[in-house]
C-alpha cells in the first residue's frame, strides 16, 4: 500500500508540474497577475509530492520491502542500513527519482530567493523548470517506475552492486546531480530572457550566483567520483575517460566557460548571445550525459541497466528541450545587440578566448565520446577511443588556456597596451619558466620535459594571479584596509585559479612519476619498492555483513623506520558472488602508497600490486580550492547588499502599512 502511495504522489507531482508550467507562462505573456501568482505555490506543492515519493522509496528500502521490484533488485537484508539508504539511487529508477527531487529542490530554492526578480520573469523561469520536470516525471511513470511491484515476493533481495557499497558513493551521486541539474536554473533564466526579449543584461546578474552554485556542486561531484574510482576500483587510476565520466566533464567545461562569460556580460554588457548559448549548452550537455548513460548507445564500465525504450524517451526529451530552446535562440538572439565595445588587447578578448578554448575542449571530449557511434554510422566498423586520444588532444588545448589565463587576469577591461603588458609580465614569465624548470630538473629524473612544462604552467598561474592582487593594492596608502575592501568575488577568482594550478601540479606529477610493481608475496616476504620496504605480516580471513574477505596486512618501512600498516582485502560479496578489491592506501600530502591484493597464486602466496603515486592528492585538493573559490564568489557583497536593500524595503513597507 505504501509503495502505491509513492506512485500516486508522483502522479500528483506531475499534475502540479503541468499547472506550474502552463498558467504562469500564459500569465507572463498577457499580464494576468493571478496566473503568474500560481508559479510559487504550485512549484512548492510539486516539491512536496516528489519529496513524499522519495521518502516512501527510502522507507521501502529501510524496511526491506521486497515486494517492490526495485528494492528487491538492489537491496538485501544483510546490507547495512546506510547502504540500504544509498541504494535508493543505486540504479536507474531511483536515481531518476533523485534527479527529479533535486530539480525540485532547485526550483523551490528559486521560489524562495527570487524576491528581486520581476514577476513576469520569475513566472517564466519557474514555468520552464516545471516543463523539465514534466518530461522527467513522464519518463519515470512510463518507463521507469521505482514503485513497480513484483510477484511472487522474493524472500530476499539481489543486493546492491558491490561497487556501489561504499561511503563515497553515498554522497557522490547527490552532489553530482546537484551540479548537473543546477544548470537547469541557468537554462531556465536563459529561456525566460529569450522569451521576454529584454535587451538589457540584468538577467546575467540574477543568473550568476545560481550558475556558480551549480558549478561548485559539479566540481565537487566530479572530484568525488574521481577519488572514488581511485580507491574503489583498485587499480590506482583517478580518471578513465569513460563515457560516463565524460558525460559529467562536458557540462563542467561549458559551465566553467559560462561562469566567466556571465561575469563579462554582467560587468561589461558584452557576449550576451554567447552567454545565453552557453547557458543552453551547459544544460543540454547535462541531458546528453543522462542520455548517454541510460540509453546504452555506448558501452561503459559504469554499465547502468540500459534499455532502448528509455533511450528513445530521453532522446525525445533532449530534442524537445534543447531543440526548442535553440529554435528560440535562433529567432530571438539576433535582436540582442551588444553595447559594450573593446579593443583587441583587453580582458574581454582573453575571456572570449577562454570561452572558445573551453568549448573546443568540450567538443574534443564529445567527439571522442561519440566517435564509436560515428564510425559505426559510416560503416567503418567498430572502434573504441581510449585514454591515449584524450591525453593527446587535451594537453594542447589546455596549454594556451593556461597562458591566456595569466594574461587575462592582468589585462584591463576595454583596452590595454602591449608595451605596458610586456613590461609588467616579462619578469613574471621569466621567473615562472626559470623556477619551474629548476624544480623539474632538481627533483625529477625522468619525463623531465613534461614535468617542467606542468610546473611552469602552474607557477605562471599562481604568479600572475597574486601579481594582480599586488597591483590592486600597490598604490593604496593603507594596504591592509584595501585588501579588506576587495570584493569576495575577486578572492574567489584568486582561490579558484590557484586551485586550478594545484590540479595541474597533481596531474602532471602523478601521470609522469607514478610507479607500480606486481609481485608474488607469501607471509613473511619483504619487497623493496620505491625506497620503501613492504613486509607481508599476515593473511587472514575476515567476514563482513554481506561478504567474505581475505585481508593482507603489510607493514611499510622506510630506511628501517616504521611508516604505516596497509590493509588490502579481496572480498567476495556472497549474494551476487562478485569479487571486489579493497585497496590499502596510505595517503600523504606529497605521495600515496597504494596496495591492492590480486589473485591467490597457491595456498600461501598471493599476487600483490603496489603503487607509489606522488602528489595524487593535489588533484582533489585543487578541486576543493576551486569549489571554495566559487563559494566565496557567491558570497560577494553585491548579492548581500541587494538582500539588505530588500530587507529595508520590506521594513519600510511594514512601517507604512
Amino acid at each position: 500500500m505504501i509503495a502505491e502511495l509513492g506512485h500516486f504522489s508522483l502522479i500528483l507531482a506531475l499534475a502540479m508540474a503541468i499547472v506550474q508550467s502552463t498558467f504562469p507562462m500564459i500569465g507572463a505573456s498577457n499580464g494576468n497577475q493571478t496566473f503568474m501568482s500560481l508559479a510559487r505555490p504550485t512549484a512548492r506543492l510539486q516539491f512536496f509530492f516528489v519529496a513524499i515519493s522519495f521518502a516512501i522509496l527510502v522507507y521501502s528500502f529501510l524496511t526491506n520491502d521486497f515486494s517492490v521490484s526495485y528494492v528487491a533488485n538492489n537491496s538485501n537484508t544483510l546490507l547495512p542500513w546506510y547502504y540500504r539508504f544509498s541504494a535508493v539511487w543505486g540504479a536507474h529508477e531511483g536515481s531518476l527519482l533523485l534527479w527529479v527531487l533535486i530539480l525540485n529542490i532547485w526550483t523551490i530554492a528559486v521560489t524562495f530567493f527570487s524576491q528581486r526578480l520581476p514577476e513576469y520573469f520569475l513566472s517564466r523561469v519557474i514555468s520552464t523548470m516545471g516543463m523539465i520536470s514534466i518530461g522527467f516525471l513522464l519518463f519515470m511513470l512510463f518507463t521507469s517506475n521505482p514503485f513497480d511491484r513484483i510477484f511472487p515476493i522474493p524472500e530476499n533481495g539481489a543486493d546492491l552492486n558491490p561497487l556501489l557499497q561504499d561511503l563515497g558513493l553515498i554522497i557522490h551521486p547527490p552532489i553530482l546531480y546537484m551540479g548537473y541539474v543546477g544548470f537547469s536554473v541557468a537554462f531556465s533564466f536563459a529561456v525566460a530572457t529569450l522569451l521576454g526579449g529584454n535587451l538589457d543584461t540584468t538577467w546575467a546578474r540574477w543568473s550568476r550566483p545560481w550558475t556558480l552554485f551549480a558549478w561548485i556542486f559539479l566540481t565537487l561531484g566530479i572530484a568525488l567520483g574521481s577519488w572514488w574510482a581511485y580507491y574503489e576500483l583498485g587499480w590506482g587510476g583517478w580518471w578513465f575517460w569513460d563515457p560516463v565520466e565524460n558525460a559529467s566533464f562536458m557540462p563542467w567545461l561549458i559551465g566553467t566557460a559560462l561562469i566567466h562569460s556571465l561575469a563579462a556580460t554582467d560587468k561589461r554588457e558584452i557576449f550576451k548571445n554567447w552567454t545565453i548559448l552557453l547557458s543552453i549548452c551547459a544544460f543540454a550537455l547535462s541531458l546528453l550525459g543522462t542520455f548517454l548513460v541510460r540509453s546504452g548507445v555506448l558501452t561503459s564500465v559504469h554499465a547502468f541497466a540500459t534499455d532502448p525504450t528509455r533511450g528513445v524517451f530521453i532522446l525525445a526529451l533532449l530534442a524537445v528541450f534543447i531543440g526548442g530552446s535553440l529554435i528560440l535562440y535562433a529567432y530571438r538572439a539576433p535582436l540582442m545587440k551588444t553595447e559594450g565595445t573593446f579593443k583587441l588587447l583587453s580582458r574581454e578578448t582573453f575571456l572570449l578566448l577562454n570561452s572558445i578554448l573551453f568549448l573546443v575542449a568540450m567538443l574534443t571530449v564529445l567527439l571522442g565520446t561519440i566517435y564509436p557511434l560515428i564510425i559505426e554510422a559510416l560503416n567503418l566498423g567498430k572502434i573504441s577511443v581510449g585514454a591515449p586520444y584524450f591525453n593527446a588532444v587535451f594537453i594542447p588545448i589546455m596549454s594556451p588556456l593556461v597562458i591566456f589565463l595569466g594574461f587575462g587576469v592582468l589585462t584591463r577591461w576595454k583596452q590595454d597596451y602591449f608595451s605596458q603588458q610586456l613590461k609588467r609580465l616579462r619578469y613574471l614569465l621569466a621567473s615562472a619558466i626559470f623556477i619551474g624548470i629548476a624544480i623539474g630538473l632538481m627533483f625529477f629524473e625522468n619525463n623531465q620535459l613534461k614535468t617542467c612544462m606542468g610546473i611552469v604552467a602552474a607557477l605562471w598561474i599562481v604568479l600572475t594571479t597574486f601579481y594582480s592582487l599586488y597591483l590592486r593594492i600597490k598604490n593604496k596608502k593603507n594596504k591592509l584596509m584595501s585588501l579588506m575592501i576587495i570584493p569576495y568575488s575577486y578572492y574567489g577568482m584568486l582561490l579558484a585559479h590557484v586551485g586550478f594550478s594545484i590540479c595541474i601540479v597533481g596531474i602532471t606529477i602523478t601521470s609522469n612519476h607514478s610507479v607500480d610493481i606486481h609481485e608474488r608475496m607469501a607471509v613473511g616476504d619483504t619487497i623493496e619498492f620505491s625506497n620503501y620496504q613492504f613486509n607481508l605480516k599476515n593473511l587472514r580471513q575476515v567476514s563482513g555483513p554481506n561478504y567474505e574477505a581475505t585481508e593482507a596486512v603489510v607493514d611499510v618501512k622506510k630506511d628501517g623506520s616504521f611508516i604505516t600498516t596497509l590493509r588490502s582485502q579481496k572480498r567476495i560479496y556472497t549474494v551476487r558472488d562478485m569479487p571486489m578489491t579493497e585497496a590499502g592506501i596510505d595517503a600523504g600530502f606529497t605521495r600515496d602508497i597504494y596496495m591492492s591484493l590480486g589473485e591467490p597464486l597457491d595456498n600461501e602466496s598471493w599476487s600483490v600490486r603496489l603503487y607509489h603515486k606522488p602528489f595524487v592528492r593535489w588533484i582533489w585538493l585543487g578541486a576543493i580550492f576551486m569549489a571554495f573559490g566559487g563559494l566565496l564568489a557567491t558570497a560577494d557583497r553585491r548579492y548581500r547588499l541587494e538582500r539588505q536593500k530588500r530587507k529595508t524595503i520590506l521594513i519600510n513597507n511594514e512601517t507604512i502599512s
Binding site: C281, V297, T299, G323, A330, E376, D577, M578, L601, D602
Partner: protein, 176 residues
C-alpha cells in the same frame, strides 16, 4: 540569421546520429563466422598437456565454446553464471583457455569451480585468432554439425543466458 541557426543545425546532426545509435547494440560485433563451419583446431587440453582435443570431438551434439583466461576480470564475473548453467542443464560447455599460463589457469579453476567438459589450452592465441576473438570472454554456440550459430562478446549475464542462449541451445538440439 544563419549563424544563429548553427547551434541548432549541429544539434540536429547529433540527434540523427543518436537515433541511428539507438538502433544498434554497442555490444553486437558482426562476425563473418556466423553460420559458417567453426575453424578446425587440435590443441592440448588444459588438465593433461599430453592429450588433445579437436573440433571433431565436439560434433554430434550442440556445444558451447567459452573463451576465457585467468587474467580476465570479466571472466570472473561471468564464471558463477556458467557454473550455475551447467549445474541446471546438461550443457556441453567447452573452454578455450586463451593466451594464458597453465598453472594460473588451473589455480583459477580450482578456486572458482570448473564448469567445462574440457578446456583447450591455446597458449599463443592462434586458435583465438581463427575464431576472431575480439575480447575475452566470448562465447560461441555450435550446432551438431559444428557450425557456429551464435556468438556473444563480453560476459554472459543471467538474462542473456536464459533469454537467448538457452532457448537457442534447445532449438538447435531439435535439429538433425
Amino acid at each position: 540569421m544563419i549563424r544563429y541557426l548553427l547551434p541548432l543545425t549541429l544539434f540536429l546532426g547529433l540527434t540523427v546520429l543518436f537515433i541511428y545509435g539507438l538502433q544498434n547494440d554497442p555490444r553486437y560485433i558482426p562476425s563473418p563466422l556466423i553460420n559458417e563451419p567453426a575453424p578446425e583446431f587440435d590443441l592440448p587440453t588444459l588438465h593433461q598437456p599430453k592429450s588433445s582435443i579437436k573440433l571433431n570431438d565436439l560434433k554430434g551434439s550442440v556445444s558451447l565454446i567459452n573463451v576465457w583466461a585467468s587474467w580476465c576480470a570479466a571472466c570472473r564475473i561471468e564464471h558463477p553464471i556458467l557454473n550455475d548453467a551447467v549445474e541446471k542443464y546438461s550443457l556441453n560447455l567447452y573452454g578455450l583457455n586463451y593466451k594464458d599460463n597453465r598453472s594460473d589457469a588451473l589455480v583459477w579453476l580450482n578456486a572458482l569451480g570448473n564448469p567445462y567438459v574440457e578446456s583447450a589450452f591455446d597458449e599463443k592465441g592462434v586458435i583465438g585468432i581463427n575464431y576472431g576473438v575480439y575480447g575475452v570472454p566470448e562465447t560461441f554456440v555450435l550446432d551438431k554439425k559444428g557450425i557456429i550459430r551464435y556468438k556473444h562478446v563480453g560476459p554472459i549475464d543471467k538474462k542473456k543466458f536464459n533469454d537467448t542462449i538457452m532457448p537457442l541451445v534447445k532449438k538447435l538440439e531439435k535439429e538433425e
